[in-house]
Structure formats: structure tokens, C-alpha cells
């Protein structure tokens, strides 16, 4: 909690005036996407009418990303990274502390099984430590799986 290093103060004291003349301005945005103005009605994008992968990505962001990362090199989260999860044995991310329930589930993650998991996690793996993340909309569950299929080495 000590102030910035001594040199900062001394510098500012002795060369404050010349420095003030050559201050560097931060750049303006490189890209600015204005989706809508404040107060404008929300942009409504019905799930069904869009590409299911894009819809799944959105739904993943809203329901899963707080706990799960989607990339291979991501740091540990609350849940295991879901990169390459389709076709993967349950509880197989090295170093992740799975529950005994998940370790003993004997599952291999296919699309329908993930849909079942996120419909009701405790239903398919009783005792799992995935305490949240249930998605009530079947279309959204399906879309999430379409998105998960795009994650993985084969892309």
C-alpha cells in the first residue's frame, strides 16, 4: 500500500511541465459495434430462426460459461473444460476434482446424454457436484449440444 515508487514522484516534480506537453492520448476504439441505442426495444432473435450453432453458443454463454470453459487451454473453472466433450468418457479431464458420483457414472458423453444431463443433472448422475446449469427449454438444450459438437480437435 505504499505509493508508487519514488522515481515517479521525483520525476513528476522535476519534469512535470515538459511532460505535460507530450502526454499521449489513448486510442479511440478500433471497432465499435452499436447494436442499439439505450431505451430502444431489444433485438429479438428467435432461437429457431437462427443457425443452431450460433444459438447454442449464446445459450452456452448464458447457462454454462460461468462454470465451464469452451477452449482446450483454458484455466480450471468450477466445472471441467468442455472442449472435446462429445465422445469423451465422463470424469476424464486430468486434474479436475470430479465427484465420486460422476467418476462412477460409467457414462460416455453423447449428444442425447448431455441433453439429459442438462435437463436434470441429478436425474442422470445422482450426487453430481454440478449443482446448477439445468436448462428447461428443449430447443436450447439441443442447440447447446450442436455448439458443443463444434468444440474439439476435429472442429
Amino acid at each position: 500500500m505504499s505509493p508508487p515508487p519514488l522515481r515517479g514522484l521525483v520525476l513528476a516534480a522535476t519534469v512535470a511541465l515538459p511532460l505535460a506537453g507530450c502526454a499521449k492520448k489513448a486510442p479511440d476504439p478500433i471497432e465499435q459495434i452499436v447494436v442499439r441505442k439505450p431505451g430502444d426495444p431489444p433485438v429479438v432473435v428467435p432461437l429457431a430462426s437462427t443457425d443452431p450453432v450460433a444459438a447454442g453458443k449464446r445459450a452456452f454463454a448464458a447457462s454454462c460459461s460461468a462454470c465451464h470453459a469452451a477452449s482446450a487451454d483454458a484455466a480450471k473453472g468450477v466445472g471441467p473444460a468442455l472442449y472435446g466433450v462429445i465422445g469423451r468418457k465422463a470424469a476424464s479431464v486430468p486434474g479436475f476434482a470430479y465427484s465420486a458420483a460422476m467418476k462412477g457414472s460409467g457414462l460416455t458423453w453423447s449428444g442425447p446424454e448431455i441433453e439429459a444431463l442438462i435437463a436434470n443433472p441429478q436425474g442422470i448422475v445422482p450426487g453430481t457436484s454440478m449443482n446448477a446449469g439445468a436448462v428447461s427449454d428443449a430447443n436450447a438444450r439441443h442447440a447447446i449440444v450442436q455448439y458443443l459438437k463444434t468444440l474439439g480437435p476435429k472442429g
Binding site: 519514488l6 516534480a13 478500433i30 471497432e31 465499435q32 459495434i33
Partner: protein, 737 residues
């Protein structure tokens, strides 16, 4: 009192409504003004710093230039001012000084720019103080840091302003009543004259007092006359924090305008640029207003914070390459080792050299060597970085929690290309800072976003962003070798490490009686942004030095307390603190098997602190059950607040010692949220007992930081005593996974 307590010129004025205002002013005609050019000083005295206001309703308001981040500075400073003023504590209020460039902290500048001037002869004082007020203004020194509020601003400014105001009130009453000044009693915000039975409130005389002569060096109270100083008065900020009415940075509102929210993500490797973003999914998500690639970070602005954060999570970004892209923690450690190898026994930059350490080691009966390592540490303030900003008509106003409002103002002005006078920084309570809020990166980000949107925006960092975009306590490696004679006396001490930030002398062992000492630094670069974390370099140096001293005690076959005690033969204040903490802890008394005590002593920010930690091994893991702490800060102004700071320093330091470890992979920080960057919680908090010694009322030490440095070594020394395992690398728990 001696010259120590005389600081600055006092000026006085009347506010509309007749309130008396007393402050420290720069005298017109001060030669420094001419030297420094354009600093305004109109006819008469300019009020530079106004510290006390007395209203007609008899309320005394202490205007303090420091922020309140839980450390209790507002209360302690008001207490010091009110005591000298003989004010009624029940009618004292505190106000945070506005960050307008007038409320600079000359004494802080003085402390850090030129320590020598503190002992300048009396006649030169005016010039020096004027100079330092200028320096402070030019350098934006309105800083809360360095454990300095009480010992600098409190001692040299608040007390003097209170004493001067008291003198003026007495003079005004004496004049009106036609009695000698010496017969007027000022007490509890009341003026009275016994013989005539006259009495009045301070408020009634506030205006008249402002026309009285202003003493430049008002006599200050002796300790024996203290009424409020030295008392554990209740904190003034707590009621609002309990009933929820206190406003922190996160609570900021822009008067009369609706707020939108921004979530941000900076390039994960420091120095990288955001080259391109894919925002396909984000632009269709609920609430989203704008998506911005700011070059160094990506921002999403939405109606709500969570909407902004969720949309941000879907954005894919590509970043430019940097030299740091491949760096990981092992490579960094190898880099430190290479620098240390190159420095060897005598190389690197010499920081302290007394006698011939290398020679002393050659002739020693026993030689002890050890290498210690610490990782990067993040501040992890509970209130994540945030700032609310509005930019309109070439002006910018921000609402935020910061330790450096004036530096934030300058940084924003610079980033937006406008004048500092066009930027207003409104300060709110800080939900923790620990040095993180000495940096102005987040106010600048918010201002840039608000400029792009054109409407007010509250930017809030996610916990992950807070952990990954910190200014870290640097990682470091420190190597020691020392020689002992046959009787266990230390003959020589040779130490070299790589990182140096602040404050000077954190590495020194001058308090220990060692004839030959060589301390050096072998510089090694790193790419992470480093900054000041509670106790700064003392946080790692305390661990290095006090662990090694413990190793020497065991090598000498001596008790670690007795060993330190004899080394402190020439440092009586250190020795007294050490002895007291040993007594408190019952040092030497038997303990159950698997339980042991460890001791350490560190002086930092002017305060000597010794701690004993009692650790028990439970299921193979150490548990810190009890901590005793004794401190000598010269004089403790508020024992309750002081003890709270020691306890806070100990708990914060325990987190650092036991858990904190920021590691790198591919140049980026691996940890993100509290699951990967844990902190000590309630159930692990030890019982803490704090005592203090008031050994010098003239020069005070700080409170915010000094409690921290001894805890890591005290715990590690206790673990050694309990298990025989010497922890030379933090965090502790990485050894018990």
C-alpha cells in the same frame, strides 16, 4: 513541542453561512511560487488545504485528504484534530476532501521525496513546506498508502489545524467578552469564562474567530493532556456500513441519469493488442447495446451487468504476439536463478555493505545456506475493480473507489486528451484496496468506454478479470549464506535477490547485531505488471529474512526466541517487543505433540511488530490456531483501530502465506476465481491477541501494513518446529496438497 509538530502555514476563511474554515496555506510571496511558476496565489492568503470547518450549529467537520478503505483513517484523523480543538466528539463529523488538486498531502510527499527535509532547521521550514506543497500538487500526491495517514497527515496537519482553530475561537471569545484570553476555557466545543459566567458554543464564535490572528505554530498538546488521542473511539464509518447506507464504488449512481453497464476483458498476456474480435453471438444477446474493441481490451455495454458479462464471454478475440507469450512460471524461476548465479557471492548491485561478509563466512565454524522463493500474489480486494464514468462536452466525471484520486484524474485527462481541470473524480468508500487501487488503469478504461458510448457507463470487472489483470506483488528468489562461530554467534550475512519495489531498506538486517553484512540485488526482468501489495517488499523480505534467521538459530542449536534476543542486544525497542510477545504466548511452555510455536519480528513503515504463531498439524495439514502480536508504533492514537489493523494484516498475510500463488502459462495468469485463488476464511481464522508498546510519542509508525510481514515466517517457523519440514517456498499449502 518541538519542530516536528509544526508544519505549514495556516490560512483561515469564512464560508458562506459563516462557518470557520482553517487550513494549511502557501504564503503569497513564497520564493517557491516564483520558482514553480504559475501556482495561483491571489491577494491575501490562498486557502490551499482546509482541514476543519465549524458550523453555526456547532458541528465540527474534519476534512480529510485520505480515503477510507476499512483502515479507519477517517476516525483516527478526526480524533487527532478534535482533541487539539477540544471538540465534543459527539458533534464531530468527517468529510472526504474533494480531489480538486488543493487537498494534496504535503507530508506524504515529504516522507517519500526527501526524508532529509523532515529534520530541516526551523527557519527553513516555510520554504520547505511551500516547496513540498508544490511538489505534492505537481505530482498529484493525494495518496492513501505507505501506512502514512496518521503518522504524517495526522501528526503534522490535522493536529495543527485543530490547535490553531481552538486558539482563534478563544481569542474571539476573549475579545467579545472583554476578558483576558488566558481566562477563557475551551472544552467540549464550548467556550466559557468562569468569573463572569459567560459561555457560548464554538459555532456561535465561528465567524468571529475567522477574523482573529492565526498562529503559525500553535502549541500542541503533550501526551498527558490528550483526551481523545490514545482512546479506542468507535469508528465513524461503521454505522453506515452496518445499516447498508455506506456508498462504495460499486454503489455509484450518476445523479439524474440512467446507467448502462460494461464488462471488459483485456488481452491475457500483458502488452498484447486485441487484433480482431468475433462478436456474432454477442450482438444478438439480450440487453446488449455496444461491443467495443478498444485495442488493449474488449468491452460489451448492456442494460445490465450480467448481460454484458455473458455476451462478453461469447466473444472470441485474437491477440498480437509478444515476447512474453511463451513464458511460464518455471521459465521465470530459471531466469531468476540465472541472474543470481551470475551475481554469485559478491556481484549484483550492492544495497548494504558492512564489513567483509565473504571473508567472515570463509573463517566461520559453521556455514548455512538457503534459497527461498515466493510466487506472484494478486490483491483480490472483495470489491472488484470498477468505475462509473460520464463523458460529455469535453468534460469527464467519474465515481470510483481509489487510493489516488488526483493521479486518476491526470491519467484520465491524458487518455482522453483533455485538461485535468475538465476531469472530476468523485471518491466513494473502497471495498478493500491493499495497494491495487494505487493504479489508475480501471478509471481510464471506464472513461474511454464512456467517451465511446456518449452515455454514462458503470464498468465492473469480473472476479476473473480482477485476478488476471492485477499489478502483482512480484515473484522472487532470495539466496542467503551465513557463518556462525563455534558458540553460535553470527559472523557474516550474505544475501542476494532479484526484485525491488518499495520501501527502501525492506531487505536490511541492521537491527540485528551482525558484524559483516552484504545485501545485493541481481536484476531480472519480468513481463507481468507489478505493483504495491500490503506491506510491499516487506511481504516477501519478512518471509525470507525471518525464515533464515530461524534456520540459523537451529543451526546454532539455540532457541529461536533466545537467539533473536541476543542478536537484538543493540536494538532495545525491538528487543522489548520480542520479549513482550514471547511472554504473551507463554513461549517455552510445553505443548501437545504435533503443535508448535514459531516467532518472527519485522519493522516496517515505522512500526516494529513481533508475532508468535501456534500451529497444529491436523490430518497432515497445518492449522494456524493462535497468533500473538506485539507492536511498537511509537504512540497508538486509537488502540481499537490499531488492533483491527494488526488483525487485518495478519489474516491478509495468512492468505498470502498459505494460499496465494499466481502462476503463468503461455505468458498469461492461470488463476481466475476464488476456487483457484483461495483466501483464508472465517473457519480458518486464528484467535489473535494484540498488545502494543508506546515507546516514542514524537515519531509515529504506521498501522495498515506492519502487521503482515511477520506472519508468514512465524507460521513457517512453527511448521518447522512441529514437523521438521522447512518451508522455503510459498504458498505453504502447496507442500500439503
Amino acid at each position: 513541542m518541538n519542530k516536528w509538530t509544526r508544519r505549514g502555514f495556516i490560512g483561515a476563511g469564512v464560508l458562506t453561512g459563516g462557518a470557520l474554515v482553517v487550513g494549511v496555506a502557501v504564503r503569497p510571496g513564497n520564493p517557491v511560487d516564483k520558482l514553480r511558476g504559475d501556482v495561483a496565489s491571489g491577494p491575501g492568503e490562498e486557502l490551499v488545504n482546509a482541514w476543519v470547518k465549524i458550523d453555526h450549529d456547532n458541528t465540527v467537520t474534519a476534512i480529510v485528504p485520505h480515503c477510507e478503505m476499512g483502515q479507519g483513517a477517517h476516525t483516527a484523523l478526526a480524533q487527532m484534530l478534535a482533541d487539539e480543538l477540544d471538540a465534543d466528539w459527539a458533534k464531530v463529523a468527517v468529510m472526504q476532501a474533494p480531489a480538486n488538486g488543493f487537498y494534496v498531502v504535503p507530508d506524504t510527499a515529504r516522507e517519500f521525496v526527501a526524508k532529509w527535509s523532515v529534520d530541516a532547521p526551523n527557519w527553513i521550514e516555510p520554504t520547505y513546506n511551500g516547496l513540498f506543497t508544490q511538489v505534492a500538487r505537481l505530482a498529484d500526491v493525494m495518496i492513501t498508502g505507505g501506512s502514512s495517514s496518521v503518522r504524517t497527515t495526522g501528526q503534522h496537519t490535522m493536529r495543527m489545524a485543530g490547535a490553531a482553530a481552538r486558539h482563534m475561537l478563544v481569542a474571539a471569545a476573549a475579545r467579545k467578552w472583554g476578558v483576558p484570553e488566558g481566562e477563557v476555557v475551551a472544552e467540549n466545543s464550548l467556550l466559557s469564562h468562569k468569573a463572569s459566567g459567560k459561555s457560548a458554543t464554538y459555532g456561535e464564535f465561528a465567524e468571529a474567530a475567522s477574523h482573529e490572528h492565526m498562529p503559525q505554530t500553535p502549541p500542541l498538546k503533550d501526551v498527558s493532556q490528550f483526551k481523545l488521542m490514545g482512546k479506542g473511539l468507535k469508528r465513524l464509518d461503521i454505522p453506515a456500513k452496518v445499516d447498508g447506507s455506506a456508498k462504495f464504488g460499486l454503489d455509484a449512481a450518476v445523479p439524474g441519469e440512467a446507467l448502462r453497464y460494461a464488462a471488459v476483458k483485456a488481452a491475457p498476456v500483458p502488452g498484447a493488442k486485441v487484433e480482431a474480435i468475433n462478436a456474432e453471438a454477442a450482438r444478438t444477446m439480450p440487453g446488449v447495446l455496444q461491443i467495443l474493441n478498444m485495442g488493449d481490451f474488449v468491452a460489451v455495454v448492456a442494460d445490465g451487468y450480467w448481460q454484458a458479462q455473458q455476451a462478453l464471454n461469447t466473444i472470441e478475440a485474437s491477440y498480437s504476439k509478444t515476447d512474453g507469450d511463451l513464458l511460464d512460471s518455471a521459465m521465470l524461476r530459471a531466469r531468476f536463478a540465472k541472474a543470481l548465479d551470475a551475481a554469485g557471492d559478491a556481484g549484483g548491485k550492492s544495497l548494504a555493505r558492512r564489513g567483509d561478509a565473504v571473508g567472515a563466512l570463509k573463517g566461520a565454524a559453521k556455514k548455512v545456506t538457503a534459497e527461498y522463493q515466493v510466487p506472484f500474489v494478486a490483491h483480490a480486494a472483495m470489491e472488484p475493480m470498477n468505475c462509473t464514468a460520464r463523458v460529455a462536452g469535453g468534460k469527464c466525471e467519474v465515481w470510483t473507489s481509489t487510493q489516488v484520486p488526483l493521479m486518476a484524474r491526470s491519467a484520465i485527462a491524458k487518455a482522453l486528451g483533455i485538461g485535468a481541470e475538465d476531469v472530476t473524480v468523485n471518491q466513494l468508500y473502497l471495498g478493500g484496496a491493499f495497494g491495487r487501487r494505487l493504479e489508475s488503469d480501471y478509471p481510464v478504461q471506464a472513461a474511454r468506454i464512456a467517451k465511446a458510448t456518449g452515455y454514462p457507463v458503470k464498468m465492473i470487472w469480473s472476479r476473473e478479470e480482477d485476478t488476471r489483470q492485477d499489478f502483482y506483488r512480484p515473484a522472487d528468489t532470495s539466496r542467503f549464506s551465513a557463518g556462525l562461530d563455534a558458540g553460535g554467534k553470527v559472523l557474516g550475512w550474505n544475501n542476494v535477490f532479484t526484485q525491488l519495489n518499495d520501501p527502501p531498506g525492506s531487505w536490511d538486517v541492521a537491527h540485528y547485531d551482525i558484524p559483516a553484512v552484504s545485501i545485493r540485488r541481481a536484476e531480472a526482468d519480468m513481463h507481468l505488471r507489478f505493483g504495491s501489495l500490503r506491506s510491499v517488499d516487506h511481504s516477501q523480505q519478512g518471509f525470507f529474512i525471518e525464515s533464515f534467521v530461524d534456520e540459523l538459530a537451529h543451526a546454532a542449536g539455540q532457541d529461536p526466541f533466545e537467539f533473536r534476543r541476543s542478536l537484538l542486544a543493540k536494538s532495545p525497542r525491538h528487543k522489548a517487543v520480542l520479549e513482550k510477545v514471547a511472554r504473551m504466548a507463554g513461549w517455552g511452555s510445553p505443548l501437545p505433540k504435533g503443535t508448535a510455536r514459531g516467532i518472527a519480528i519485522v519493522k516496517s513503515f515505522g512500526t516494529i511488530v513481533a508475532e508468535v504463531a501456534q500451529v497444529s498439524m491436523q490430518d497432515g495439514r497445518p492449522s494456524v490456531d493462535k497468533v500473538w502480536c506485539c507492536a511498537d508504533a511509537g504512540y497508538v492514537m486509537n488502540p481499537d483501530g490499531f488492533a483491527a489493523q494488526m488483525e487485518g494484516g495478519i489474516i491478509y498475510g495468512l492468505t498470502t502465506a498459505l494460499y496465494s500463488g499466481i502462476t503463468l502459462k503461455n505468458g498469461a495468469v492461470e488463476q481466475a476465481n476464488f476456487d483457484t485463488y483461495p483466501m483464508v476464511r472465517m473457519d480458518e481464522a486464528p484467535d489473535i491477541e494484540v498488545a502494543f508498546i508506546n515507546a516514542d510519542t514524537r515519531e509515529l509508525g504506521g498501522a495498515g501494513e506492519p502487521g503482515l510481514p511477520p506472519i508468514a515466517p512465524a507460521v513457517c517457523n512453527a511448521i518447522f518446529a512441529a514437523t521438521g519440514l522447512r518451508i522455503r517456498e510459498l504458498p505453504v499449502m502447496s507442500h500439503f496438497a
